[in-house]
């Protein structure tokens, strides 16, 4: 009989200790999580598929379904990849394997990671563990819901414009979008190549730091990766003396930010001051004015290119057609949902002859400005703090019919993604009994600073990651 493990509360670090001490075996732990999935995932739909018994001597992990797993179907939330079983592991999956982590399963995602609620998944939405009538955020809503509901001690997501940080915020988890180039994208189904990053989601900052240390570093299969300039340090300090925190002055006038979110955010700034941090004002005018339009040129343009390979020739379902062109057209028409189609059209237009300079080319120039603006701000501050999401979790269906409203969910996460900078989201309180996320942004390779600040604040905030309805 499997030992009783309270997966709802167990951190990855504690789980590792249990296995190391021999209190539970890796297989028993894996089974405990599968049992929890059996109990709670019917309601949540965090997983698209689970793995009954996986190799490995350590603790389990959940991987977002955009991450290729050898021998385990990987669909990126799309019908066009239904039945596609990779013949190779993504580098991050291989590194998890090498660390002994057992694969619990593949978690739900908006189709090709395009969305902020998982409602764009071809396999149906996931639900927020805090309130199943609400979305878990997206695109990595599956991983976030799984970690929040104790269906995995930790997991990996991918983040293009906020797909790790935003669902982490909406589900009360810690999530890290690493510095662009520190984690290999090899084997991760591409959405927008200059923006995609893979990162950890867990219950604590220390867990996130630990998982980051497992997946980060140069990969000879991804030319855009680099070696970390310094090793990952697990944070333990409780004070923030001397840490300079900048708050963009533009936050003040953003009407999209709910008052409850603002209140929780401001309480955490107070706590930061109490811990010894200096909180000041920084200026990111271009970021909030042009970040969003810039992102919605760059990301769809690259997506239109990355999604060109899904033609039904080599893998995935193939529709019938009298000619090659007809076969491809039908395959893509039947295989892609509305959001990828929308972005393919936008992106194709943005890259077209005669429009490139005005759209993609111009957006890349704006990006350079954002990079400069963030560098400037981070020369005066060690970290920049904002709320992660302007709102708490919203009801399923609320924004599904309004792409622009959905896009606005990423207002606060997008600018630093365009600048290639790391961002950590930690839960910083409740608003209407729902988690609020605090986003901490750092300079390139500033992950250790983010971990240190995030850990100290986490301790001071004392957020209980167990959804209210499951607390006894």
């Amino acid at each position: 009989m499997a030992p009783v493990v309270d997966t709802l509360r167990l951190t990855a670090e504690d789980a590792l200790a249990l296995v190391e001490r021999g209190d539970v075996s890796s297989a028993e732990l894996h089974a405990s999580y599968l049992e929890a999935i059996g109990e709670r995932d019917g309601e949540l739909h965090a997983y698209l598929r689970t793995v009954e018994s996986a190799e490995g001597a350590s603790i389990p992990i959940a991987l977002k379904d955009v991450i290729s797993t050898k021998g385990v179907e990987t669909t990126a939330g799309s019908k066009i990849l239904s039945g596609y079983t990779p013949v190779f592991d993504a580098t991050v999956a291989a590194r998890c394997k090498a660390a002994g982590l057992t694969l619990l399963g593949k978690t739900n995602t908006d189709e090709f990671a395009m969305g902020s609620s998982t409602e764009n998944s071809a396999w149906g939405p996931s639900h927020n563990p805090w309130d199943p009538t609400l979305v878990p955020g997206g695109s990595g809503g599956g991983t976030a819901a799984a970690v929040s509901a104790g269906l995995a001690p930790w997991g990996l997501g991918s983040d293009t414009g906020g797909s790790i940080k935003q669902p982490s915020a909406l589900c009360g988890n810690v999530g890290l979008r690493p510095t662009y180039g520190t984690v290999s994208r090899y084997g991760v189904v591409a959405f927008a190549s200059t923006l995609d990053q893979i990162g950890p989601v867990a219950k604590t900052v220390r867990d996130v730091a630990l998982l980051y240390s497992i997946i980060a570093g140069r990969d000879s299969n991804d030319s855009t990766t680099v070696e970390l300039p310094e090793p990952v340090r697990l944070p333990d300090a409780e004070r923030l003396d001397g840490l300079r925190i900048g708050v963009p002055k533009q936050i003040e006038s953003l009407d999209a930010i709910e008052s409850g979110v603002r209140a929780a955010f401001e309480r955490s700034l107070e706590l930061a001051r109490e811990l010894g941090a200096n909180v000041g004002e920084c200026d990111l005018p271009t970021s909030y004015r042009y970040g969003m339009p810039c992102y919605y040129l760059v990301a769809p343009a690259e997506a239109s290119s990355n999604l060109a390979r899904y033609d039904g020739v080599r893998y995935g379902p193939r529709a019938d057609g009298a000619t090659y062109d007809e076969m491809v057209e039908r395959t893509r028409d039947e295989g892609f949902g509305a959001e990828p189609k929308r972005r393919i059209m936008l992106g194709t237009y943005a890259l077209s002859a005669g429009y490139y300079d005005a759209f993609y080319g111009q957006a890349q120039k704006v990006r350079t400005l954002l990079i400069r603006e963030h560098r400037e701000a981070l020369s005066k501050f060690d970290v920049i703090a904002t709320p992660t999401s302007p709102t708490v979790a919203f009801p399923l269906g609320d924004k599904a019919a309004d792409p622009l409203a959905m896009y606005a969910c990423d207002l606060l996460t997008i600018p630093s993604c365009l600048a290639g900078l790391p961002g950590l989201s930690i839960p910083c309180g409740l608003s209407d009994d729902l988690p609020v996320g605090l986003q901490l942004l750092g300079p390139q390779f500033g992950e250790n600073t983010l971990f240190r600040a995030g850990h100290a604040l986490e301790q001071a905030i004392g957020f209980d990651t167990v959804p209210l309805r499951w607390r006894s």
């Binding site: 290729s68 990126a76 013949v87 090899y186 991804d222 239109s304 390979r309 020739v313 080599r314 000619t323």
Partner: protein, 469 residues
């Protein structure tokens, strides 16, 4: 009105690197279909390209050999078009920032050097190979089904674009021969057209002789030998001249050359212009070869064919020098001459007999060849040919062949010569009427009669004397 052709070439060269351009699959010809593939060159989800450094080096080397400027910052872009031979839906290719620009090919001619500009040489990946089964055209439209072999997909490919500086079909052929030899000698490609390792498209237009205008050009594709290229260009030049002279106007079109008929057939014109939606390949970093590498490669450049043609021409003549160098025969020639062979005789024997016998040039011992060249008229023709054919065998010695003597005794040969002349009164008449080229015919007949044992020089002297030469 007199017309002159204006020709530019686009030359694709497959590099013979050990592995493909962006993955570790072996590059090779003739392996079983789809056995040299991996997630990267099959365009699987999430697979990423990684540059082949050797291919970059070789592109720089080629650029240096062509006198190009070498970019210290080149970039790969994505070139999008939907076709089943392109697994990612785009080809990774250098676009606005190629590795090599602004060079030239120097073609030695009797009237001095012809300098043909090289606009650019850039690196890209080859597409897979498709075979369309059924249908009339052999193209994808109308085929019953198509098969794809991804082995070729991802092979490093250099595209060399010349300026429209080439003035005739023959010149185009000579430029290509020289370029091919340069590429082979750099060791970066076998450049074999029959295997598709060297592929040439020609852009052709014509203009009134002496003018500098550029008229509408057409593109010729599918010419897979140097002779076909020359024939295709010639046919297209004639066609265009006829169009202009009949008051018509040449349309911008692409033509396929049919080697069997020598005819050009226009491809169905597309409804809309291509839009490749280029943008910088985000999965790769810029190509920035360090200056020390470029300088090292420059210092390692061998003496190039054009220079060798000029050097050898001084000791021989331009035509023979060109044949020797572009055939990769000049080193053997030089060595053979160094050990004592006559230059012209050695050139003729090497370029005709040795090449004709299919001897592996690298295996020939120059000293033995030199002895054969010197003795070529003193031993029976058949013996000579037999010796040449075995020239490439390991440990070949000329001695046993040299022991056999040709019949040089005029008295012995005279009756045979008489008989031949008697049997061919028509030819004798023609020869006397001035067709001196028939000398070879008579000599050939005598050689045949003597089963190759006669000394051809003695025979021709006899023939000439008898016919009152």
């Amino acid at each position: 009105m007199k017309w002159e052709p204006v020709i530019g070439l686009e030359i694709h060269v497959q590099l013979k690197t050990r592995t493909k351009m962006f993955c570790r699959c072996p590059v090779g010809f003739g392996a079983g279909e789809n056995t040299q593939t991996c997630p990267v060159c099959l365009g699987f989800p999430g697979a990423l390209p990684v540059m082949n450094r050797r291919a970059i080096e070789w592109t720089v080397l080629l650029g240096l050999a062509l006198g190009c400027e070498i970019a210290d910052h080149a970039m790969f872009s994505r070139k999008h078009y939907p076709y089943p031979d392109l697994p990612k839906g785009y080809q990774i290719s250098q676009y606005d920032l190629p590795s090599c620009t602004n060079g030239n090919v120097v073609l030695p001619t009797a009237d001095g050097d012809r300098v043909i500009g090289i606009v650019r040489a850039h690196l890209e990946e080859d597409a897979a190979k498709t075979v369309h089964i059924g249908g009339r055209t052999g193209r994808i439209g109308g085929a019953d089904y198509s098969l794809i072999d991804f082995n070729r997909g991802g092979t490093p490919l250099v595209e060399i674009v010349t300026a429209p500086d080439i003035g005739s079909a023959d010149e185009a052929k000579r430029v290509l021969q020289l370029l091919r030899q340069t590429i082979v000698e750099l060791g970066i490609s076998d450049a074999e057209m029959e295997k598709g390792a060297l592929r040439v498209d020609a852009n052709v237009s014509v203009r009134p002789s002496g003018s500098s205008e550029l008229r509408t050009r057409t593109e010729l594709k599918n010419m897979n030998s140097f002779n076909y290229i020359a024939r295709g260009i010639e046919a297209e030049v004639e066609r265009q001249i006829a169009v202009w002279e009949s008051g018509g106007e040449v349309q911008q079109e692409t033509y396929d050359f049919d080697a069997a008929t020598g005819a050009l057939s226009p491809r169905r014109s597309k409804e809309e212009a291509d839009d490749y939606r280029y943008f910088p390949e985000p999965d790769l970093v810029p190509v920035e070869p360090p200056a020390v590498l470029v300088e090292r490669l420059r210092s390692e450049l061998p003496e190039l064919p054009a220079a060798r043609i000029r050097r050898i021409e001084a000791r021989l003549d331009l035509d023979r020098a060109t044949v020797l160098v572009t055939g990769g025969l000049d080193r053997l020639w030089e060595e053979t001459v160094t050990v004592g062979a006559d230059g012209v005789a050695a050139a003729n024997v090497i370029a005709n007999t040795v090449v004709g016998a299919g001897v592996e040039i690298g295996a020939v011992a120059p000293a033995e060849l030199a002895r054969l060249v010197e003795a070529r008229e003193l031993i029976p023709r058949a013996t000579f040919d037999e010796a040449i054919a075995k020239l490439g065998d390991p440990g070949f010695k000329a001695d046993p062949y040299l022991a056999q003597e040709a019949v040089s005794d005029a008295a012995e040969l005279e009756p045979i010569v008489d008989a031949i002349l008697e049997a061919n009164p028509g030819q004798v008449e023609a020869y006397r009427g001035g067709k001196e080229g028939l000398l070879g015919f008579f000599v050939g007949q005598v050689m045949k009669e003597t089963q190759g044992k006669a000394n051809p020089r003695v025979v021709s002297e006899l023939v000439r004397a008898k016919l009152g030469g």
